[in-house]
């Protein structure tokens, strides 16, 4: 039974333990967005919905709308959000895979902030350098998460 539970838990781990251990448990996104620069160098676990991916030479910037996470660290389907952030990936992330609307969970190091126009205003985005991330499959969010099954096994003994 214990083995089974451990196995299930391992199955649902989107972000490996080693990365989670580096996360600063006292740092919430709500704190970060108010003053990104004062948390430079700290690691945070954050997730949300992808809004846009900008691919540049050698790096890809993913704009994310933060959403609260569930117990699996999956961003919830909710209107609740504390704001937006930018995740600065090294290398190329294909915008056809990291499409707007998909959910992503990131463990990243706070690099600082970046001010970018958003409609007619300027928005100060916290910028993260990702250590670990998980892109959720679109159907992950809409299908029920528990499946119980009863199995009957037949064995032949000789």
């Amino acid at each position: 039974m214990i083995v089974l539970t451990a196995f299930l838990a391992a199955c649902t781990q989107a972000i490996p333990k080693e990365s989670l251990n580096k996360v600063d448990p006292n740092l919430s996104f709500q704190m970060l967005i108010k003053d990104p620069e004062s948390y430079q160098g700290k690691n945070i676990l954050v997730g949300g919905q992808i809004l846009e991916v900008n691919v540049r030479e050698g790096e890809s910037w993913v704009e994310v709308l933060q959403k609260p996470l569930d117990w699996q660290h999956r961003p919830k389907d909710t209107d609740e959000s504390a704001g937006r952030l930018l995740v600065r990936f090294q290398g190329f992330l294909d915008p056809a895979i990291y499409t707007a609307g998909k959910k992503i969970t990131v463990v990243g190091e706070v690099q600082g902030k970046k001010v970018q126009p958003l409609k007619e205003m300027d928005y100060a985005y916290p910028v993260l350098i990702p250590r670990e991330h998980h892109l959720w499959k679109p159907e992950d969010s809409s299908s029920p998460r528990f499946h119980f099954g009863i199995g009957v096994g037949v064995g032949i003994h000789r």
Binding site: Q49, L51, L65, D79, S81, G83, R84, L118, K119, E120, M121, D122, Y123, S142, S143, P144, H147
Partner: protein, 175 residues
């Protein structure tokens, strides 16, 4: 007494806080105010509708809303009929990805006058309200409102739950 209790329940159904609901003058419907917003300056109204456009300025968000009737819960209904549009000014940032075109809102706000803005080829005069409280209604997922449970097609997989999803909208099997 029963009436009082019922009224109490109805009030508690409204999605906005009691403090704000107390200030609202429910007789001031959109239709009443629309022609001459200036006559009602400073009054608090409760209107609802569908977001048409969201504009973010520094320190301010402007929602353009297409008015609709509201049900008892103050949720916009009969969305295809509308008496017109209005502008809501909110001091602060509302994310345009959340407060998006097509979403339903119910707003308590103070009448602040009118504003003429281009709409298609005409100048449209919008009543302007300063938001005191905004309630954004959750999106209704059409999948949740397919069939009543007794008429639900048998559907068992791959993720099938035979009573539809989510399960709490339906009776558990032992009832």
């Amino acid at each position: 007494m029963a009436l009082l209790a019922a009224t109490g329940i109805l009030f508690s159904c409204a999605p906005l806080s009691k403090e704000v609901m107390r200030q609202v003058d429910e007789t001031l419907t959109y239709q009443t105010v629309q022609k001459n917003p200036e006559n009602f300056l400073g009054k608090t109204v409760l209107w609802g509708g569908v977001i048409v456009k969201t504009t973010n300025r520094q320190g301010e968000t402007i929602l353009e809303v297409r008015q609709s009737e509201m049900d008892l819960e103050k949720r916009p209904k009969n969305l295809d009929s509308s008496a017109g549009r209005f502008v809501v000014r909110h001091a602060g940032f509302l994310d345009p990805v959340i407060y998006k075109e097509g979403r339903l809102v119910t707003i308590a706000g103070e009448i602040a006058g009118k504003e003429a803005l281009p709409l298609g080829g005409i100048q449209y005069t919008y009543p302007v309200i300063l938001a005191k409280e905004i309630h954004l209604w959750e999106k209704i997922d059409p999948r949740l409102y397919r069939y009543p449970y007794w008429d639900y097609p048998p559907f068992w997989g791959p993720y099938g739950y035979p009573y539809g999803y989510p399960y709490w909208r339906h009776r558990p099997y032992w009832w």
